[in-house]
């Protein structure tokens, strides 16, 4: 039969391959060897110290990759450290020129980079060409702007130093851009470890850096596997570690870096909900699923892998979804008309298959398109898969598959949708489908997730922060908040170490007289009421000269538990308007001022300070409360417009329950300086006040009681700071922990926080001038008191 006639009958698409020849020529030019990039030069390991990198779609070996050793990491850190001295001193404009040059070079080589990425990773060329590479260029452009504006927009901030960055294989070049662009913009230098499956595009980027004239050592690569990553994490030369990958490895990194005074940002796993409300445009939502879970073969940390569908529309929705799945095309990733390419490695196929088998065994119904059953593709391919009837108790609903598999379950009411959505250890992203503004925004506000897409999914922009809640990690990438991950306050670089604190006296009777009069033993303050410590022990509170003044409860983990429960039970505070909270805080300032004389007397008696010093501490404390009363209705967030028909809202959301381990220095002022920013933005706090002079907290809760601060918003547990800090760090229902004490205590907090990966803010044993308006108050505190939720909402009619 005439070829044309038969094609007219079948109306098949036919092949549309992208040419791989330029990439093959590029690989040949490099003798198919990929080395490290250190100090602007490529360094190769011996063949015995190399590993192979394959094209997952064909199994063809692409190149030999050098396996980085600790000495390679040393060399790279040395190069980055040397370059830091001059790079960090460049003007913002000079760094902006470099970043702009990188952006332009990425655009000029865009097709080579796209084809390279597709051959290395297996993702469809459509995605690498239309999504990954344009976003890479966008990221460098955006951050060229931040380099330019740094000094004026983020005053008082300086680059943190040399950064170690470890990136995953799912978006190799895009993750490189997310890490490298803000670091370079901030004035940091970088050692990057690409994923072992996908090292090629980073090598091409290194060439681009040389081409664009980036100074040697500003950007370095050490290739390798997990052992190389471990060597990086252990290296003392890094001031900051940034990691994107699994929660499991994130936890290891959190522990490994504990107490090393490194900044850390973690972008980890997810089991992101995809919520379809009854009034959704179902066709739009079906197409959303395609973008949520069949984008990049489902190898996306923020993939909408958990569909929550309203009961009344679930059947119709699943029917439409199945019809859509029949039309998906899986195959050669270099074919321009392919929706689903190859999974990155056979190991991942095994993982996916194992999870699918479990899903089937759990009783959920599996569905795959007829074409997948009729002609399964050989190699690293896995067909789009829908599970319906999945129960929350199933592993399929709880754990990441990292493949093209969606688990669907139903809900009855919008409230139940939120409950199910939040019923997870993760909190990376969420997608909401509804034609009702009320339903969509109500859901968006109540979800515990760092990124929420309304009537859309998997949208990214360099100006919008990306990052998780809960065990999906902390820190943001993109936007102003992303820049903060690579900056530190200038003063902090010169902060002196605190003198060692005197040990807490034993919680035993001291045998000395309290001097008669009515006994005033400070109790814990939990849920707005005084509570005796669970231990039944009290410890002596001594004045500056070591004389017994009073006693305070010797708190333990059960007191912490009770305080956390009381804090959770308080549900009014976060829902109040900023204006409402401001009024309460002004009232608090007013009442503290009214009792200034008592507080001054207490400070003099306890700390042995002068009249003037005591007056100054109380006055500054009153001013500080007013400072945060002023902020209470102003720290709302930001609005970005990544497209003409799109708004992305960066909302500053409280953590719910935030714990504070307060220091002994300036015991009233430091306490106020830490508690106030936290509660001003809507947190409830569990606080261990100065262990040496907890009585200030005892006096303060009387003021709280008279100032309409609802019970449960501020809770005090007195006792040994570091032991209680450990209990706090180990409590998984506390979402954030601030610790101001010793270096050892800081290390312990960071280590134990790995359990639920709560963000921590520790002082590493360094002093802070609580009286200084720069060190003692302001945006730094507010920034740590919130987690940023980015809500994307496209619109149009």
């Amino acid at each position: 039969m005439n070829d044309i006639r038969s094609l007219m009958k079948s109306m098949e698409y036919g092949p549309a391959p992208e040419d791989a020849a330029p990439v093959k020529a590029w690989l040949e030019r490099h003798n198919r060897r990929i080395g490290h990039f250190i100090g602007g030069k490529f360094v190769f390991a011996a063949k015995s110290k190399s590993f192979a990198c394959n094209n997952p779609a064909t199994g063809e070996k692409l190149a030999e990759i050098s396996l980085g050793t600790p000495s390679d990491v040393d060399a790279a850190v040395a190069a980055a450290t040397k370059a830091f001295a001059s790079w960090s001193k460049l003007s913002g404009n000079a760094r902006a020129r470099h970043l702009y040059a990188l952006a332009r070079q990425v655009q000029k080589h865009s097709r080579l980079l796209a084809v390279l990425e597709t051959m290395d990773n297996g993702k469809p060329i459509r995605e690498s060409r239309d999504i990954d590479i344009p976003l890479v260029a966008r990221h460098f452009y955006h951050h060229a702007g931040w380099a330019e504006l740094l000094e004026s927009e983020l005053p008082g901030q300086v680059p943190v130093g040399v950064c170690g960055q470890i990136i995953p294989w799912n978006f190799p070049l895009l993750m490189l851009a997310w890490k490298v662009a803000p670091a370079l913009a901030a004035g940091c230098t970088v050692v990057l470890k690409p994923a072992e499956y996908t090292p090629l595009s980073a090598m091409a980027f290194a060439e681009i850096c040389n081409e664009a004239g980036l100074p040697a050592g500003v950007f370095n690569i050490v290739n390798g596997d997990g052992s190389t990553g471990a060597a990086m994490v252990a290296h003392d030369g890094f001031a900051k570690i940034a990691f994107t990958g699994s929660t499991e490895v994130g936890r290891i990194i959190r522990k490994a870096t504990a107490g090393k005074a490194k900044k850390l940002s973690l972008e980890l796993g997810g089991k992101s909900p995809f919520i379809v409300h009854s009034e959704a445009d179902l066709d739009a939502a079906v197409e959303g699923v395609v973008d949520a879970i069949w984008f990049n073969q489902g190898e996306v940390c923020c993939a909408g892998s958990r569909a929550l569908v309203q009961e009344g529309i679930a059947d119709r929705f699943h029917d439409l979804l199945k019809a859509r799945m029949e039309k998906l095309r899986m195959g050669d990733p270099l074919d321009k008309a392919i929706d689903i390419g190859a999974v990155v490695d056979p190991v991942q196929i095994e993982n996916i298959e194992a999870r699918v088998r479990e899903g089937v065994a759990s009783g959920a119904q599996i569905w795959q398109p007829s074409w997948a059953q009729a002609a399964p593709l050989k190699g690293c391919f896995y067909p789009p898969t829908l599970f319906t009837g999945v129960e929350p108790a199933s592993r399929l609903a709880q754990e990441e598959v990292f493949g093209p598999v969606i688990a669907s379950m139903t809900f009855r009411t919008p409230g139940e949708a939120v409950e199910l959505a939040n019923n997870t250890r993760y909190g990376l992203a969420a997608s909401i489908w509804s034609q009702s503004l009320d339903v969509a925004f109500d859901t968006a506000r109540r979800l515990k997730a760092g990124v929420v897409w309304i009537n859309s999914t998997n949208l990214f922009d360099a100006a919008a922060g990306f990052g998780g809640y809960r065990e999906s990690g902390f820190g943001r990438e993109g936007g102003r908040e992303g820049m903060m991950e690579y900056l530190v306050p200038a003063w902090s670089k010169k902060a002196r170490a605190l003198p060692p604190s005197s040990p807490l006296p034993e919680p035993l009777p001291q045998g000395t007289s309290l001097g008669g009069g009515l006994d005033r033993t400070m109790k814990n303050y939990i849920g707005g009421a005084q509570a005796r410590p669970d231990s039944g022990y009290s410890y002596p509170v001594l004045d500056a000269k070591g004389r017994l003044v009073s006693e305070a409860g010797f708190g333990n983990r059960k007191d912490i538990r009770n305080a956390v429960e009381a804090a959770h039970a308080e549900s009014h505070w976060a829902g109040m308007t900023g204006h409402g909270r401001a009024q309460v805080l002004y009232f608090l300032a007013e009442n503290l001022e009214a009792r200034a004389a008592d507080f001054e007397a207490r400070l003099k008696r306890l700390c042995g300070v002068s009249d003037a010093a005591a007056r100054r501490e109380v006055e500054t404390s009153v001013a500080r409360i007013m400072h945060y009363a002023a902020w209470a209705d102003k720290y709302d967030g930001a609005v970005r417009a990544p497209a003409a028909n799109m708004l992305s809202l960066a909302l500053n959301e409280p953590f719910e329950v935030l714990a504070i381990s307060a220091p002994d220095e300036a015991p009233l002022l430091s306490l106020v300086s830490l508690v106030l920013p936290a509660i001003a933005v809507g947190n409830r706090v569990v606080v261990t006040p100065s262990q040496r002079w907890p009585l200030l907290a005892g006096d303060l809760y009387q003021v709280l009681d008279t100032s309409d601060v609802p019970g449960g918003v501020v809770n005090f547990v007195t006792g040994p700071r570091d032991a209680l800090a450990k209990d706090i760090a180990k409590h998984d229902d506390i979402a954030c922990h601030w610790y101001f004490g010793t270096a050892e205590g800081s290390a312990s907090v960071e280590l134990e926080s790995a359990g639920n990966l709560k963000p921590t803010w520790v002082n590493n044993g360094k002093a802070r001038d609580w009286y200084s308006p720069i060190e003692g108050q302001g945006r730094e505190f507010l920034f740590h008191a919130v987690r940023i939720k980015t809500i994307w909402t496209p619109f149009g009619v």
């Binding site: 044309i4 094609l7 036919g14 009034e279 445009d281 066709d283 739009a284 008309a337």
Partner: protein, 339 residues
């Protein structure tokens, strides 16, 4: 509700002995107005735009596949002239082009028979129907006529109905009617439905293609709801535009109408055709719309029974692309006969 019809039919392509069962395309009928089928549907614009714009990146056809698709595009063109200066001579020229849309040597090089590729129909004003009927006699190419006060549709209803009857009497096989847009703005579905039912009855054996003038309706939700009403009133085709509105057959509009057709089919078993019209000038535009049909509807909606492209300038660009496929050289318009 479902009325699938299985008709035994001789399979002429095979050995001649085989009897194939296929679901015949039974003509859509007038059904009662059921607003509950569409009144709660709201279309999300940005999602529709995203789907429509990503289609061009997700799908492409190259080489002989592209040639085959372009030939199919010719077969579904309603080759159209709707201008104040239309004359019998102009209409005859258009009909000649409809019979032989491709240069003879191109047909030969493709290995096709002369006359094998023809356009889907010719579309003219009612007063030109008799000319077109005469010019196409014996070809089987249907003649379509616009009617009902095209393009605004604001002449009184009796005159609009009389225009349909006139065109049918003149020999038109298909009538492209326009809806009264104000009924959509008012949500007066009953009034819209009642008019369309009378038009459908006036069409008798001729097929009714209901033009929604989507560029006037503006919102995709309006487009979806109007599509459903037009189909309930027995339209054989729903069509996007007159070609006179400021915005014509955009891909998002086409997407939503295709989905309405899919939903109507699922609800009633009837297959209604789709005709995007207006602004489709390039071969790529035609391919985009074929891709959309292939992605959103079953295979039958790629055939002239259920899919048409309303166009006038499009054909020339397709001819140029097909010649490029054959020769590898970019072609020029003057190398192809004008319509």
């Amino acid at each position: 509700m479902k009325r699938p019809v299985a008709t035994p039919e001789k399979n002429t392509a095979g050995s001649g002995q085989l009897i194939a069962l296929r679901e015949a395309h039974q003509r859509n009928e007038i059904m009662p107005l059921r607003p509950e089928w569409f009144e709660r549907i709201e279309v999300n614009l940005s999602a529709a735009q995203r789907r429509a714009s990503s289609l061009g990146g997700r799908r492409t056809v190259k080489k002989q596949w592209q040639a085959a698709w372009l030939l199919r595009a010719i077969q579904v063109i309603d080759l159209t002239t709707l201008a104040g200066d239309d004359s019998p001579g102009r209409v005859r020229r258009l009909c000649a082009k409809a019979r032989n849309p491709l240069r003879h040597d191109i047909v030969e090089a493709l290995g096709l028979s002369p006359g094998e590729i023809r356009t889907g129909a010719v579309c003219v004003y009612p007063s030109m129907v008799s000319v077109a009927v005469a010019a196409l006699a014996g070809t089987g190419i249907p003649v379509a006529s616009v009617a009902t006060g095209f393009p605004a549709g604001l002449t009184p209803l009796p005159q609009r109905l009389a225009e349909i009857r006139y065109a049918v009497d003149q020999g038109a096989d298909e009538i492209d009617i326009v809806i009264h847009r104000a009924h959509v703005f008012a949500g007066n579905w009953q009034a819209m439905y009642d008019e369309l039912v009378q038009m459908r009855e006036a069409c008798r054996h001729a097929h009714m293609k209901a033009i929604l003038a989507t560029g006037d309706l503006k919102t995709l939700t309006n487009v979806y709801r109007a599509s459903m009403v037009a189909m309930m009133a027995g339209s054989d085709f729903i069509k996007t535009s007159t070609g006179m509105e400021a915005v014509n057959a955009t891909l998002p509009v086409s997407l939503i109408m295709a989905r309405a057709i899919r939903d109507f089919h699922a609800l009633t078993g009837f297959k209604v055709g789709f005709k995007p019209a207006g602004g489709i000038r390039k071969a790529k535009d035609a391919l985009d719309r074929l891709v959309l049909m292939k992605e959103e509807l079953p295979h039958e909606w790629l055939e002239p029974d259920l899919f048409r492209l309303g166009a006038s300038a499009l054909l020339t660009d397709i001819e140029r692309q097909i010649e490029h496929y054959l020769t590898g050289r970019y072609s020029a318009a003057n190398r192809h006969a004008m319509a």
